[in-house]
Subunit: 173 residues, 2 copies
């Protein structure tokens, strides 16, 4: 068994001073470790009734796509503004300075469909919460949120309004 954390590289002061960035590219580059991480992520969802995995642009696409293949579920993309071509809805979320938005196609899912929201990283929870709000606008049922990495100190999980927040790797520094 690989220890997945060994494949996560710490990069100090990225994207700016004082931030310790968790770089997942060494994990992705190692075929066995990547597959192992996806299998373990799928394991966290065992027993859940799921119709779709919702991936948040861009790194969320990587894990949502791999999990779609592994679990044979549909894959829905949530993207930055201006990227999705069909009719869509938008949610804004606050950044440290200013705000940003995410979009979803308004025909992405039917009422009551069960979704898991997937991203590589849970930090403050802003993008995940905005994605959850998009799913609610479409009358989807949020089964839970799934992350490769959770920065527990930032307490993002508490903002998501559900107990079902799963993460494979927790960091508290």
């Amino acid at each position: 068994m690989h220890d997945i954390k060994n494949f996560i590289r710490d990069i100090p002061d990225f994207p700016k001073e004082g931030i310790l960035f968790r770089d997942i590219t060494p994990l992705l580059q190692d075929a066995a470790a990547f597959e192992n991480s996806v299998n373990q992520l799928a394991g966290l969802l065992e027993g859940q009734d799921i119709d779709y995995l919702v991936g948040i642009e861009s790194r969320g696409f990587i894990f949502a796509s791999a999990l779609s293949m592994k679990m044979q579920k549909g894959f829905i993309t949530v993207r930055k503004p201006g990227k999705l071509p069909f009719t869509r809805i938008q949610e804004s979320y606050d950044l440290e300075y200013g705000s940003d938005s995410l979009e979803i196609h308004d025909d992405s899912l039917k009422d009551g469909k069960n979704v898991i929201i997937v991203d590589d990283l849970l930090a403050t929870g802003g993008t995940a919460l905005a994605t959850g709000n998009l799913i609610k606008q479409l009358n989807g049922n949020i089964v839970g949120y799934l992350f490769l990495i959770e920065l527990t100190e930032l307490e993002g999980a508490g903002k998501l309004g559900t107990e079902n927040v799963w993460s494979l790797l927790k960091y508290n520094d």
Copy 2:
């Protein structure tokens, strides 16, 4: 057998007037059709000696990730500037107006490793060629280029400097 083209939606005048955009989101949302497309893409690579799949941000991540899982190969990301945290190299490419750049971590692969460059769409070939140049700078061996969709009229394949340009769906209008 699904006809994959039935899951590609035509969106006129996106991202601007006169462009017919091929929307892959209906394909992704259908678990069986998505899996089928990934299996067929993997089939196009049969018999090739491959170490890594290189995915181009953002939609290229979706197929490169799924293929990594399917083929048990490493996955390397090529990203827009400012996204990759470790030391990296850059290639620029021309757009209709101005230019843009792509980056790769400089420790992504060792000399002589065999890579397939993956994206959802081959149009004029600018981003694919820039990605190929990044791989060459790192002394990687480009086995070929793989796309879900090829817009044949734009003749991007001819710019890539190899016969090994594979695409699952060709459109000539």
